[in-house]
Symmetry: C2
Subunit: 124 residues, 2 copies
């Protein structure tokens, strides 16, 4: 039985992206994810996904146009099949819980996002 100090663990990650399994619990796993920037639209058809922010800010966009911003010790569950996109504000560290071997299905552009207005990028 191993004790993991999650803050020490995340402090030791120097990559701009790392997603590692910290623990298996029954048929689920707890992952530590460190990332910068924006991830692609996707969903997990066979697993709910819990997010818990350790450091930084995590934004989650949903295909209905809703956006949620989570900071340290804030948590939510994205239900199985729900199309979403995560975005780190700066360097963001979060814990996720999901089924071991959960499938990820990438989606090019959610149907309801076609008309969503987004701010232009600084280089646009």
């Amino acid at each position: 039985m191993t004790v993991v100090d999650i803050r020490s663990e995340q402090a030791g990650v120097t990559d701009s992206y790392k997603n590692q399994v910290l623990f298996n619990i029954n048929q689920e796993c707890m992952r530590l994810s460190v990332f910068e920037g924006e991830y692609r639209w996707h969903h997990h058809p066979d697993s709910d996904e819990l997010f818990l922010v350790v450091a930084g800010e995590l934004q989650i966009d949903f295909e209905d146009g809703n956006r949620v911003t989570l900071t340290e010790w804030q948590s939510m569950v994205v239900p199985a099949g729900s199309v979403h996109r995560t975005r780190a504000i700066g360097r963001t560290v979060n814990i996720t819980f999901e089924k071991q071997g959960a499938q990820t299905v990438f989606v090019e552009s959610p149907p309801n996002q076609a008309t969503q207005r987004t701010a232009p990028r600084p280089d646009a």
Copy 2:
């Protein structure tokens, strides 16, 4: 989809003991546990149990005499069937992950603890 601010949630608990489900994730649940003092020896025959400390210090005793102390953002998994006893140092808040409806079997005194020396209580 509900966002839970875990620190706000725990700050709102005024009882000396409260154990509530915050989220269901697949067949598992995430609980927020606030407690003081020592819990009874027990095990969960059908579920691993993950602990993640939010505030305070959590000690976990095992039947082989080992004791682990966890502080904020420290985490470990107690495997299914492993007899253990939790103890809060002061008021302790922790998150647990386990199967929904996990069974708890209480144990009067673990066999290997019979000769364990413990400090006398102040009132002993």
